[in-house]
Symmetry: C2
């Protein structure tokens, strides 16, 4: 539900409706993107590496900022979709490396199916009608 | 965040991860689709009419069931994105008809921009690489 409270009046309301929509849209999609990135990775990755990969592609998308990734990585790890190991680093704190588990691959496949079906449905109702 | 609790173990866990993903993905998108449908409508529509339009296109998508639409319509109305009027019906309870407001059109434009940007970003990381 995109507008739960009746605050959306005037410029402030418009901005809050925009932020709320973005936040809700991202909630599931951050996990999908992270799982997919780790599925395609040749090696274990730590949070900062993943954030850099995402930002290299879409520097403007504050959506997928580093800070937003860590809790999702932790939650997916707790849920068995990722496995992680901690590796000491020469400078700075130890790094936690993640990789996708077999269960994570099963869930990724399910999520991709849901994503594609939902995306096509939304596009059907929101994109300009094409006459081809 | 797609997996907030560590329940996701075994078949039950997989199913719950799937349902949670779908629920989160839908939260914002139901509102986007409803706003878009009302933006394109030639006349005011009531909830059941909208549900029928959506189900005609995607009968399998339980996601956008009638029951899920009403709270979203009410919330968008409270938020000023929709206006509504109640019309008595010959049989059954009176019907509440909705139309999009000027503010709703501004928000729809914002949401469409967010949707397209996010959709393309997710596809970039999840869809098979095309060599063309």
């Amino acid at each position: 539900m995109a507008v739960e409270d009746p605050e959306a009046e005037g410029a402030e309301g418009l901005e809050s409706a925009e932020k709320k929509f973005q936040r809700e849209l991202n909630a599931g999609l951050i996990a999908l993107v992270l799982l997919s990135v780790l599925d395609r990775a040749d090696e274990d990755l730590y949070g900062y590496q993943i954030a850099k990969q995402l930002q290299a592609v879409a520097p403007g998308l504050s959506v997928f900022k580093q800070g937003a990734l860590y809790p999702v990585l932790r939650n997916m790890s707790a849920g068995g979709l990722l496995a992680s190991r901690v590796v000491p680093s020469y400078a700075g704190p130890p790094r936690r490396y993640y990789r996708i588990t077999d269960q994570g691959r099963v869930v990724l496949k399910q999520w991709l199916g849901i994503w594609e079906q939902t995306r096509d449905f939304v596009d059907l109702f929101t994109q300009p009608v094409r006459n081809d």
